[in-house]
Symmetry: C2
Subunit: 341 residues, 2 copies
């Protein structure tokens, strides 16, 4: 029913004439219209006002011929709904007043029905779908249980998340209890998103790359894969594990429809590790969008040749940076849309 | 002439009964005696007073049966000597008042003879060697030219060094000029360290992992390898590229004696990528030293079995964390020293 089904075709392994394209954080600070809106409404107002979230989601769609929209939201709305309130601190980022530090903290987490705690997200999906008018698909997303645990325990961002990691290494039973609670709640959240009509979901494992392969298996993939298993029959699921090249082989044997990769792995190596039997998404270095439109255009087309046109979604290897000139982002999208086999 | 040649034996590929062991940042904040000294002397006093630097270098050697000492210093003494002064800011870390941002900035960098600008380091080596009394080898170190460029341009630490990267992507000629200047100065510095009797050198490429494989080749390895080529006939060189698993294969074909690896790669995979023909060093997750001595002991012995005893140096996958209990670090070293084939 979608007028442009390219993104879903690539996820389903159908033959395509060119790869679909979207950009992680495409509805973000690099857009002047986003910054204007940000000056008027704070972070929580933007996330929790469905009309605003929908308006922001559409911003990049109006500017660029992207093949998918991604709902404007934040991965931390899930822990927030579970009773871990956070603030957005200037130059610190997310900041939890009361990070999890004990079994008691984990046991007292709330299990409010998602319709109540996250109704504003589902409302935003309804409005966005109406505005999108079946032109392109809408992606819903969540953080991986591991990545949410990182923030829940560390209380804020970190380069290495050593506090979160040592919590898990010292108290593995507590860690697993917390991860399971996050997983269960996230699953309810994603199921409800699907009910409201998102066309695909992406799990962001932004901090999986701080773990060893064995610890990744135990503390991250085990739980992300529960989500994949529970959803794969209903909808295409994309798993993006930043820095998780070491788990690509394992993940490629799952029911996920696509795996996101970052730029620290070559397209050839990523294909090799995933055996060519799953779609890949990525992996342009976001910092390269700070070079020139010409250079971007050439390098993006080379990236497509390196990944191959089939079972491939052109994207960045991480979120777009706030200081990227709009014409550079445009060159990125254009290079994909104009790609000739 | 060394009473304990185990570390050098492993670097030279000689057969050993057990692997040698040391810990990155072993002369650091986790030691109560270091913290006591830190309360009396600031960062620069500690680095620039040869007697203090030597005293700190010996601290872990007195506590643990490590097989190598590493000179207490900082990778940023090199850019400092080239005319890029920095401060140590509380909770920020290194901070350069005037980061490099133009060709003019690069052209005006100084080329003072290292004897003048870094004499305090060579004096510290002399004193340390006297105190070590030929018991164990002394490692000298430097930052990789890429990692030094990251600080020179960014002006401080960063998760992603996007400013440094986009500088290189926008102005590759300037970047190469700067990298060559850093390389040349670093080479003078290392040659003088060797003259003063260090037994091995380690190049820390702490930020190589933010680059794509092709950019790593162009902006990092090309310059680290100049150092390797210039020094390998004189002394064993260890290259530690944090997050640089993708370059292990290339680096294993160089004249380096050993490659450091972090914990995001399994020992088996690291051996596979390096073809078994170079010593490897690493790769215990520093956050695991926050678990219990028993667990550490068991996991370290497993790590040795996974890497194999020959051509292997037991170490962490990154610097030891400040909050590691001394008895846990002790368990790490003990597990290696007591390892039975």
């Amino acid at each position: 029913m979608l007028k442009n089904p390219l993104f879903l075709d690539a996820l389903q392994g159908k033959e395509v004439q060119r790869p679909p394209v979207w950009m992680m954080r495409q509805a973000g600070r690099f857009l002047p219209e986003f910054r204007a809106l940000r000056d008027k409404y704070d972070f929580f107002t933007r996330c929790q006002t469905p009309e605003l979230a929908a308006e922001i989601t559409l911003m990049p769609v109006k500017r660029f011929p992207v093949d998918a929209a991604i709902l404007f939201s934040d991965i931390l709305v899930v822990p927030q709904a579970m009773g871990m309130p956070f603030q957005m601190k200037e130059s610190v980022g997310p900041y939890l007043q009361n990070p999890v530090s004990s079994l008691e903290d984990i046991e007292k987490l709330q299990n409010t029905p998602v319709e109540e705690s996250l109704g504003y997200v589902f409302k935003a999906i309804d409005i966005t779908r109406e505005l999108l008018n079946d032109e392109i698909p809408l992606i819903g997303f969540c953080g991986s249980p591991w990545t949410i645990l990182c923030y829940a325990i560390e209380g804020k961002g970190s380069k290495t998340f050593d506090k979160a990691k040592s919590f898990c290494f010292k108290n593995p039973e507590w860690a697993h209890l917390l991860l399971q609670k996050i997983t269960d709640y996230t699953l309810q959240y994603l199921l409800k998103k699907i009910e409201h009509g998102v066309n695909a979901v992406q799990i962001f494992d932004s901090w999986g790359g701080v773990l060893s392969p064995a610890d990744y298996e135990e503390f991250s993939w085990k739980y992300s894969n529960q989500l994949v298993e529970a959803l794969a029959d209903k909808i295409p699921v994309i798993v993006f594990g930043k820095g998780c090249w070491f788990a690509l082989e394992t993940m490629s044997r799952s029911k996920a429809s696509a795996l996101g990769v970052d730029w620290t792995i070559t397209p050839q190596k990523a294909r090799e590790l995933t055996g060519g039997n799953i779609a890949l998404q990525g992996n342009f270095d976001p910092a390269k969008l700070l070079s020139t439109p010409d250079k971007i255009y050439t390098e993006v087309q080379q990236m497509i040749r390196d990944f191959g046109v089939q079972r491939y979604i052109a994207n960045l290897g991480h979120g777009i940076l706030p200081n990227v000139p709009v014409e550079n982002a445009e060159a990125f999208v254009k290079a994909v849309v104009e790609f000739k086999r």
